[in-house]
């Protein structure tokens, strides 16, 4: 195994809180080609019962990537980024993310195992709001292809 298995159980908290802004939600919605009014029009979002614009379900990946980057770039882990592929991703939304949220994220290393010449890294990003309440749990399987492939 190329990856250091002692990393299981480690946690990488984001250095700073992430402030969810209107223009970022609009930009992300545009990038996924989604014209839903609740991503663009605050009045439409309020009419639907939200305080402001709602984030698309995969918007939380922005926070996941920030915390994941720290782990991936940790030289002691021994991960070759060029050989890494995204195996799976899931999100559990404890509540929708909306404009104005101040989100904290922490990445947990849940598992490292070798399978068929590859290393499988399972990570979990817990996203919480400024009150410390859970917002999103995002899980990913990252696959690092072996040298012989």
């Amino acid at each position: 195994m190329a990856l250091d298995a002692s990393f299981v159980g480690r946690c990488y908290p984001a250095a700073a809180a992430y402030q969810v802004g209107r223009e970022k939600i609009r930009e992300f919605a545009e990038a996924i080609g989604d014209s839903n009014a609740l991503y663009r029009d605050p009045d439409a979002a309020r009419a639907a019962g939200y305080a402001d614009l709602v984030a698309p379900p995969t918007f939380a990946m922005i926070l996941v990537l920030r915390t994941q980057e720290e782990l991936i770039n940790d030289p002691k882990l021994g991960l070759d980024y060029r050989r890494m592929v995204h195996g799976s991703q899931s999100f559990i939304h404890h509540r929708p993310i909306t404009v104005g949220d101040e989100l904290s994220a922490a990445l947990h290393v849940d598992g490292i195992r070798a399978m068929g010449g590859n290393d499988m890294l399972t990570v979990r990003c817990e996203i919480t709001d400024s009150a410390g309440d859970p917002v999103t749990t995002a899980r990913a399987m990252l696959v690092v292809r072996g040298n012989d492939q």
Binding site: G33, A44, G49
Partner: protein
């Protein structure tokens, strides 16, 4: 309006098909998604990096494909905040050649299950170049704003 459409979701039956979605992805779309998401992995915009990684060509971000798969469901539900859970496996890359046609991603979905807690599970299929690109792709939709599984954040109308 989204409330009303959300209520309509409450009347669906297992096996119902969602309106399908076809999205053409070009290199420009990948660059735009890279900027919006912060995923600047060069295999999504550099021919050289894609070749070095052993790929046939530049490929779309898996998360962009997942976003399109989820978009099928949020468009159907009306309220994106009703999606309480979504999950995919990335089984094949979506190869995006550097031309005007790019890659066509076809997304379809159907109601797989109605759960006792009022949530609806949608099974999603995504295809590109005639092959499926996602496995076990699902999204779970809450049908009732009062559902404890999905408290409406900032709901001012109670």
């Amino acid at each position: 309006m989204s409330r009303r459409r959300c209520a309509e979701v409450g009347t669906v039956a297992e096996g119902d098909e969602l309106p399908s979605l076809e999205v053409r992805l070009t290199r420009a779309d990948l660059v735009r998604y890279a900027g919006a998401s912060g995923d600047f992995n060069p295999i999504h915009w550099s021919d050289r990096a894609a070749r070095d990684a052993g790929l046939p060509d530049v490929i779309a971000h898996g998360m962009l494909t997942m976003a399109l798969a989820t978009r099928l469901v949020t468009t159907w539900a009306g309220d994106p905040g009703a999606v309480v859970e979504c999950a995919v496996r990335f089984t094949r890359p979506v190869v995006v050649p550097d031309n005007a046609d790019g890659a066509l991603v076809e997304v379809s979905g159907k109601v797989a299950k109605r759960r006792d807690d009022g949530t609806i599970v949608i099974a999603i299929t995504a295809r590109a170049a005639g092959q499926t690109v996602l496995g076990n792709a699902t999204a779970t939709v809450a049908t009732s704003p009062a559902s404890p599984a999905s408290p409406r954040h900032g709901d001012i109308s109670g």
